[in-house]
């Protein structure tokens, strides 16, 4: 008798024309993605044919970039609203999970619980909610004049929000909730989901975010560049679960990975460099400026080194490391800008199917991930490459399913049905 090997979970992270900032300029990228529903249905079916656990839509209720000149050189200012997008995809697919982001700052729990319950019914138990608290001033300006709430307040509201939503999804009892931010009298006026309740997803990496995830999340999407970083995040979060009476396996941790794959390593590198060349200088510099919290980076020669800067208030240790590293390696502002614009702080792997499978396997078996949220650099090409080259390699190694065993997203992920 053979013992079934533990298998990794894989999500497809959908975003605009691709995760690379210049994705839309790729000659074969589907540039009208943001107004073409058939394109998204095709992507979902590709992911389903590859037996992926879920597709995931990130979201913000506003533009991504305040500088209109910069925004107009990216494809991220327009796109589908994700819940309507996934509801359309729900009835055009059969097995794949459907996870959408929605903010606890700009919704009410009763309405959100209803909408996701409906998505869960439309899909036969395949829905998930990625909870975000929204830390973005552009969004705040679309929801009143009070501006962004302080971090701690946002999380307090999010904790209450998540508890109310879980209560509504759980059942028929009138809720009679009277809290700090919300009051909800009745039970949800929709029947209970086929998977018990939609899957709860979170991504917050802050202390408050991790604590909330440990209490409520079924899945955590994280961002980690190195194995050590990923392992520390993984162990840290799993270690918090016991305090809330949960088992390590109750939460699946899925870091983002941005693969660039081709038959040969040289070809993969070439593909990646070609995409990097398409980043307009001002777009790259704007992204780097905001990452490093340096507002006037555009004043300095782009082929020169980063200027000497006084340490700023908001600068985090990782950003300080980036500056240090760039000095050591003699990187120009352009080099550094492209480096960041390309990966958005996520883990990038460039190579052959076997090389990418090696990297994923090492993090999976090394106890740094339960699976991965795959971020193709452009659509549909890099998704097709991952589905046809990397997934079969993972399947050959017994690291990923060849067929769906379950029907619901909870079944795919091996999650308990909530009581």
């Amino acid at each position: 008798m053979t013992v079934r090997k533990r298998q990794m979970k894989l999500g497809l992270f959908l975003w605009a024309t691709g995760h690379h900032i210049a994705a839309w300029r790729h000659p074969k990228a589907h540039v009208t993605a943001g107004i073409d529903i058939d394109h998204y249905i095709r992507l979902a079916r590709t992911a389903e044919a590859a037996k992926l656990d879920m597709i995931f839509c990130e979201d913000a209720a506003g533009l991504r970039e305040a500088n209109v000149g910069i925004a107009s050189q990216t494809s991220r200012s327009i796109g589908f609203e994700p819940i309507s997008l996934l509801a359309a995809i729900a009835v055009q697919t059969e097995r794949i999970g459907l996870v959408s982001t929605a903010s606890t700052s700009y919704n009410e729990p009763y309405g959100l619980a209803r909408t996701f319950a409906s998505l869960d019914h439309l899909s036969g138990g395949r829905a998930g909610w990625n909870l975000v608290t929204s830390a973005n001033h552009i969004e705040a300006a679309n929801f009143g004049s009070t501006g962004l709430r302080p971090h701690a307040d946002r999380y307090e509201r999010a904790r209450e929000f998540a508890a109310v939503v879980a209560g509504l999804w759980r059942g028929a009892e009138a809720l009679n909730h009277e809290g700090q931010s919300f009051s909800v009298k009745d039970a949800l006026d929709l029947p209970r989901s086929q998977q018990g309740a939609p899957v709860m997803v979170q991504a917050g990496a802050s202390e408050d975010g991790q604590d909330l995830a440990a209490r409520t999340a079924d899945v955590v999407f994280s961002a980690a560049q190195t194995f050590e970083e990923a392992k520390a995040l993984y162990d840290g979060l799993k270690g918090r679960l016991a305090a809330y009476g949960r088992e390590p396996d109750d939460v699946k941790i899925m870091p983002g990975v941005a693969p660039v794959v081709a038959e040969t390593e040289a070809e993969a590198r070439e593909k990646y460099e070609a995409l990097q060349e398409l980043i307009p200088d001002d777009v790259g510099v704007a992204l780097l400026s905001s990452y490093l919290s340096i507002s006037d980076l555009w004043r300095y020669p782009i082929d020169g080194p980063l200027p000497e800067l006084p340490p700023s208030e908001g600068m985090k240790s990782r950003q300080a490391l980036v500056i240090e590293q760039s000095r050591r390696d003699n990187l120009s502002i352009r080099d550094l800008a492209r480096h960041f614009a390309g990966a958005r702080g996520h883990w990038r792997v460039v190579g052959t199917p076997a090389q990418i499978a090696d990297e994923l396997q090492a993090r999976f078996e090394g106890g740094a991930a339960d699976g991965f949220n795959v971020m193709p650099s452009w659509f549909p090409g890099e998704l097709d490459a991952f589905a046809t080259l990397v997934v079969p390699e993972l399947q050959r190694r017994g690291l990923f399913r060849r067929e769906y065993e379950g029907r619901t997203l909870r079944e795919h992920l091996g999650l308990k049905r909530p009581v």
Binding site: A61, V68, D186, A187, P280
Partner: protein
């Protein structure tokens, strides 16, 4: 004559057989095949009792958009249960998913128990509700126009995805809301989603005449329907709009004894632009309507102008674009 069919998916409390998606989709496809202009779907949020439908209206609409091709799809969504930015975005997105066949049914009457479930335990007065709804609707329509129709360039080589001059902030600051904009969804294929208003009181009529594309009024005697219709057309003209830019449909119960003769009489006397047939909240009523009453209407050949357009606006003779 314009014919809509309207049903509330969530009001059949206690029904054993809840309508599943394929049943609702089958019904809407039959309505489409019979040449109806649109379906108007409502769900009663916060009824406080277990509903017979597992769906919320806007998500259901997205799914229906993928299995239909021509019929207009209108969903009710409460101004109390949503923020204007989110609602404008949801419908703008639905409109792109459906290739320009979507409408929003905004009602000027608050739903029972809505306030109690949306963090307003003290309630909201009807007067405040109406003023808030008017501001809300204005914001939504403004957001829908934030991108010019030719704003998207898709110029890969030149690196210009959109023309920054053709994206406009709303910068709304009002009594209840402050919304900067713009929407992060492209312009609608039919210019803007169709705005259907219902639940109008006397004090809402000028507002409706100024803003609405379609006005639903309650079933009444032929004389009073005619008076209400003429009144709305006068107000529309006074608001600086062509009276034909607003379609007035009478909500009529479509029971088993549907009086097709009566509908013909109303329409013939120019008491309305058409009807919205309200189905009883029974799953079986969908099948009954599609199988028995639609063929009867069809057989009578109630006149409908021959529109060549594919969008809901074009079907309703509202102009406003007919792009693919």
């Amino acid at each position: 004559m314009h014919i809509a069919v309207s049903f509330n998916i969530a009001s059949a409390a206690g029904q054993a057989a809840e309508p599943d998606f394929s049943r609702i989709a089958g019904f809407v496809r039959k309505a489409e095949a019979a040449g109806l202009d649109m379906v108007v779907i409502s769900d009663s949020a916060a009824g406080g009792q277990q509903a017979s439908s597992p769906f919320e209206a806007t998500t259901l609409l997205a799914a229906l958009a993928t299995v239909t091709e021509r019929i207009g799809l209108v969903a009710g969504a409460s101004t109390l249960a949503h923020q204007p930015y989110n609602l404008a975005r949801r419908f703008a997105s639905l409109d792109i998913i459906s290739h320009g066949r979507v409408g929003w049914n905004a009602t000027m009457v608050q739903g029972p128990r809505e306030a109690a479930n949306f963090s307003r335990p003290e309630g909201i007065s009807d007067d405040d509700f109406r003023r808030r709804a008017e501001e809300f609707i204005g914001i939504v329509q403004g957001l829908w126009k934030g991108w010019d129709t030719d704003a998207l360039l898709f110029d890969k080589v030149g690196g210009r995805f959109h023309d920054p001059e053709k994206m406009h902030l709303l910068d709304h600051k009002g009594e209840f809301f402050s919304v900067r904009g713009p929407l992060n969804v492209a312009r609608s294929p039919q210019d803007t989603p169709v705005l259907v208003v219902s639940g109008l009181a006397e004090t809402d009529l000028d507002f409706a005449a100024r803003m609405a594309d379609v006005i639903l009024i309650e079933e009444q005697s032929l004389e009073s329907a005619k008076a209400a219709y003429d009144d709305l057309r006068r107000r529309t003209l006074a608001a600086g709009r062509n009276p034909d830019a607003v379609k007035v449909l009478i909500s009529a119960a479509a029971g088993p004894e549907l009086a097709v003769d009566r509908l013909e009489a109303w329409f013939g006397a120019k008491g309305c632009d058409g009807f919205s047939m309200v189905l009883p909240p029974l799953p079986s009523a969908l099948d009954d309507f599609a199988d028995r009453l639609l063929p009867e209407l069809h057989r009578r050949g109630l006149p409908r102008p021959d529109y060549t357009g594919t969008t809901l606006r074009a079907r309703l003779g509202l102009g406003g674009g007919n792009r693919p």
